[in-house]
């Protein structure tokens, strides 16, 4: 990720080279967009916010230091921008364990009939998972995205979200538990329909 070519681009962008900055944008534009889109849901708004994220990154670039990982630094700016939108929408809900039926998170077992490589083979499963993800509290959805889609380590997630690594560990576990419970609830709904 933080390869020599990237370091070179950052150094040039810091000196005011717009083309170098554009090359950095090109490296990350789809990933930042994907992260923001899944976080806030609305495609047009996500496009605007992605652009805003890179403009903010450009403004803040003089303050970037080689000790910082560019990706976590960039995603932190995206995180702040997306959180601001979510707050404006008043859609931020914090941990919603109280909403889960008691005990559901602990005794749900995997469906042995489904092999891992076939799990998302059908459109319905994808839709259920997408719906489950969108229904999670934003902070749960976000940490899952950083871990599973961006493949960030706990150290990187901690830097991106500005939280302790211990918090990453516990929040990620809660997020996964809530996602599994939500997915199974939706699967159950579908079977009974």
């Amino acid at each position: 990720m933080a390869d020599d070519a990237e370091s070179e681009l950052i150094a040039r962008a810091q000196e005011g080279d717009h083309r170098a900055f554009a090359a950095l944008v090109r490296r990350y534009q789809d990933r930042v967009f994907r992260f923001i889109l899944r976080l806030i849901g609305a495609r047009d708004e996500a496009m605007d916010l992605t652009q805003e994220t890179f403009m903010k990154a450009h403004q803040a670039l003089p303050g970037w230091r080689p000790e910082a990982q560019f990706r976590t630094w960039l995603f932190r700016i995206a995180h702040n921008a997306a959180l601001d939108v979510l707050r404006r929408r008043e859609r931020i809900e914090f941990v919603s364990f109280a909403d889960l039926p008691a005990g559901e998170e602990d005794h749900a077992l995997p469906d042995p009939a489904r092999q891992p490589d076939q799990r998302l083979a059908d459109r319905q499963s994808i839709e259920l998972l997408e719906r489950t993800l969108q229904e999670l509290p934003a902070e749960h959805r976000e940490i899952l995205l950083l871990r599973e889609l961006e493949d960030m380590s706990y150290t990187e997630i901690a830097a991106t979200l500005g939280i302790a690594e211990g918090t990453v560990k516990s929040r990620l576990a809660r997020a996964r538990s809530a996602a599994i419970a939500g997915y199974q609830r939706h699967s159950g709904d579908n079977r009974h329909e």
Binding site: V25, R26, Q51, L61, T72, W73, P116, S125, A173, A179
Partner: protein
């Protein structure tokens, strides 16, 4: 998580989750592995976590569908004074003299501190903080320092 598994016990979810992610130290990892070998409850829970991970990674990937980088580059070219630029002639060389000199005075004010201190940390960092000062509270990235790797912060 006990070393002697009981048939019904609440799995240590953060432990299993971190085990799945390879985020436990060697000692903890071994402890969990030994427990898993004897505990179907935790093994089942781990399988669920792994399946969720596989499924999330298999979700269709959205993309922007256009080259945002090109748009950004145009926007930056249209508003060049925001950069702390050594290559400032790129944008003001072609301007009419009056506009050019006024702009370079204004730019000089902005760039002066950065040029005087060279590559020292203070001026650019302050410039970066000013950027965030102009944003509504929700945008505050007060924790940018935490983006730095531990131990490298002065």
């Amino acid at each position: 998580m006990n070393d002697q598994p009981t048939p019904m016990h609440a799995p240590d979810l953060p432990g299993l989750s971190a085990y799945l992610d390879g985020e436990l130290d060697a000692e903890e990892r071994q402890r969990v592995a030994i427990h898993l070998a004897a505990c179907p409850v935790c093994t089942g829970r781990l399988a669920e976590l792994a399946a969720l991970s596989t499924d999330l990674r298999a979700l269709p990937e959205e993309s922007l569908g256009f080259d945002l980088a090109g748009v950004i580059e145009s926007r930056l070219a249209a508003a060049p004074r925001r950069t702390v630029a050594r290559r400032r002639r790129d944008w003001w060389m072609g301007w009419p003299a009056a506009v050019g000199s006024a702009a370079s005075i204004a730019a000089g004010v902005l760039m002066g501190s950065a040029l005087v201190t060279g590559s020292a940390a203070a001026a650019p960092r302050m410039a970066a903080m000013r950027v965030f000062d102009t944003m509504p509270p929700g945008n505050l990235c007060v924790g940018l320092e935490s983006c730095y790797v531990k131990g490298s912060v002065k």
